[in-house]
């Protein structure tokens, strides 16, 4: 029962990998997912400028319910010029 997490941009360095899988008991809201991560990474992800995509679609972080087979991507602001 695995949930895939993707970390884009600088979040990859904080996470130590671009991708991570978590064993999950069922559908979880975002706070229940981030509490399984390194605390610094969890704080970085909670920043309002981080966008969240569930299975490739942008979603409001408060609406996230993700579980087995889902892919949750964390997108920091894009780099620009």
């Amino acid at each position: 029962m695995a949930l895939t997490l993707l970390f884009l941009g600088k979040l990859e360095d904080m996470a130590g990998a671009a991708e991570m899988t978590l064993d999950v008991p069922g559908k979880l809201a975002l706070p229940a997912i981030t509490e399984r991560l390194d605390p610094d990474l969890a704080v970085a992800i909670a920043s309002p400028d981080i966008r969240v995509a569930l299975n490739g679609t942008l979603v409001s972080p408060s609406n996230v319910m993700a579980g087995d087979g889902d892919e949750l991507a964390f997108l920091p602001p894009v780099s620009g010029g």
Partner: protein
């Protein structure tokens, strides 16, 4: 005619422009912009990497092209953006707009570039002797976008 692509390997802007100009035969003019990985004397940058997010990056570029065509009467739109690791001097992006009248082509190309730079889903990092470093957004990107507030 619309051609919007991600390039995972080096591309030849001259060859792309040759093909593009053949495909928009009724244009009065074509404006193009080629962005290169900057080569600066004394720069320690050895390479640049662009990452993207498959589900959003290309669809976002296509939506941007459609928005551009809705505002300016274009006979052709070309957007090619590199991803992956590049060396200084290599092309990163090619934008071309063909139109009956030059003003539309100039403005549409400028609009596309400003939005590709600051809105499209790309993350950049550069490599120096100290290793890789992610590039943060710049304030200028937001002021570049503000020029286009009147475009729906």
């Amino acid at each position: 005619m619309r051609d919007v692509r991600l390039a995972t390997a080096p591309f030849d802007p001259h060859e792309e422009m040759r093909q593009f100009s053949q495909r928009c035969g009724d244009a009065g003019g074509i404006v193009s912009f080629t962005g290169l990985v900057r080569e600066e004397a004394g720069s320690e940058v050895e390479g640049l990497e662009l990452r993207h997010f498959e589900p959003l990056t290309l669809p976002g570029m296509t939506d941007l092209a459609a928005r551009t065509e809705a505002h300016w009467p274009l006979t052709g739109t070309l957007v090619i953006h590199r991803v992956g690791v590049m060396k200084p001097g290599e092309p990163i992006v090619l934008v071309a707009c063909a139109a009956r009248h030059r003003r539309d082509a100039f403005e549409a190309a400028d609009f596309l570039m400003d939005h590709l730079k600051s809105r499209a889903w790309f993350w950049k990092r550069e490599k120096t002797a100290d290793g890789w470093r992610w590039i943060e957004p710049r304030e200028a990107d937001h002021s570049d976008l503000a020029r286009w507030n009147a475009v729906p």
